[in-house]
Amino acid sequence: MNSTVPAIRISGLTKSYGETEVLHGIDLEFASGEVTCLIGPSGSGKSTLLRCIAFLEEATNGLISIEGEALGFAMGPGGNRIRLPQAEVRAVRSRIGMVFQQFNLWPHMTALGNVAEALVTVRGMSRSDAEARATRELERVGLGHRAGHYPAQLSGGQQQRVAIARALALDPRIMLFDEPTSSLDPELTGEVLNVMRQLADDGMTMLVVSHEIGFAASVGSKIVFLDQGKVLLEGSPTEVFGKPRHPRIDQFLDTYLDRGAATLI
């Protein structure tokens, strides 16, 4: 793999819902192995951007490429965007794993069933091979002993770790996290952040939307600050959080964070 090819390249991306444009021309690149934290006020378009990269939403304009390969749309000869065939979309998408704020585990399957499902239905593995693999992924997130539990029998933190294992089982090259700890009780965020920290140490390319500034500052190699559908700032944690700060960052830290977290920086 050519290391100069970015893991994700976003160019000129806009997204509108009806008449309202919510992302106004985003240009970003994320290097392989890099952990990027995407921050910004509520409604600034963080989820929308992540969902476009996961191809859960189709960008209105602009292009996204994953490890050099076009996602969903490519530039045609006449400079117009052309839609790529479904098979190609699936192939490129399979390199991306997504973790949601609401976990989104399937309630009728055990932890093991959730992780093994796509290995069987999508990858065509035998049930026993898939379960062996799923067991390893559950052990990796510290939940080997909870394999037979249904989601409702697990704490929020455990559910989110199962959701991470479910994504990891498919060997993604890139992991996207949309506020993975925001619906957890404070005492449960640590276990999820630890798993994510471990994943970062293992060299996973990660794009994390989070208000956990402590995590962003210590694990993130890069911070992107999104404001009203535009990239306001990007840089290393020290560049973005260090003084002198951009007034919007100051305002953001004041509004969205307790002072305790801000002093970690």
Binding site: L56, M98, H108, A118, T121, V122, P151, A167
Partner: protein, 221 residues
């Protein structure tokens, strides 16, 4: 006039044949209605705007008109548009398309009750639309759609009696013929009520049993 059980006894073979006809008409039309109703719900969800609105009209008509009228139109009106069927196939087809309209509404509500995030999670790990329907949507909504489906099945049991109006030899037809032959309406109607009540009771019990079996999966988030 006394309650004369011997009339029933004498005609038992005919009555049982009628009961059997009712049973299989009901079982086949319920199964057919579930399958067709499911397909209608899937087509309304994924088939685009035109298909969705055409099927919406079908459902509205089926639910908005009496089954008796529908079956008359199919039986007596069918030949005008080149569909000439004998009584029993007409009755069966009529029941299936009538039941399917109700079943499709149940499935539609079931689909809508599954959180969008569960479907997106499936999409993210690469499940196709059909795999998502089969592996995620159907099992997740099973418990939710079961009680209303049992209700519709029960309604269909009783709607089979309407088929006597186009002379399908089912239970109501057979017993009312016997009733008027022997002038024994009370006996005939009592028996009729008992048979239907028996079927309804069995169906209700089967439904509750299935619900109990399924509810061990009920671990809602």
């Amino acid at each position: 006039m006394s309650f004369d059980l011997s009339i029933i006894w004498q005609n038992l073979p005919d009555i049982l044949a009628g009961f059997w006809t009712t049973c299989w008409l009901w079982a086949v039309s319920t199964a057919g209605g579930i399958v067709l109703g499911f397909l209608v719900a899937v087509a309304r969800r994924y088939g685009g705007r035109l298909i969705a609105s055409v099927l919406g009209v079908y459902v509205a008509i089926m639910r908005g008109t009496p089954f008796l009228v529908q079956i008359f139109l199919l039986y007596y009106g069918g030949p005008f548009i080149g569909i000439s069927l004998t009584e029993t196939p007409t009755g069966l087809i009529g029941l299936v398309i009538y039941g399917a309209a109700y079943f499709s509404e149940v499935f539609r509500a079931g689909f809508e009750a599954v959180p969008v995030g569960h479907i997106e999670a499936a999409e993210c790990v690469g499940l196709t639309r059909w795999q998502t329907v089969r592996r995620i949507l159907l099992p997740e909504m099973a418990l939710l759609v079961l009680p209303p489906s049992v209700n519709i099945a029960v309604i269909l049991i009783k709607e089979t009696a309407v088929l006597s109006t186009i002379t399908v030899p089912e239970l109501t037809m057979v017993t009312s013929v016997i009733g008027s032959q022997y002038y024994a309406f009370v006996e005939a109607l009592t028996l009729l009520a008992l048979f239907y009540w028996f079927l309804v009771e069995v169906t209700g019990r089967a439904g509750r049993w299935a619900e109990a079996k399924l509810s061990r999966y009920r671990f809602a988030n």
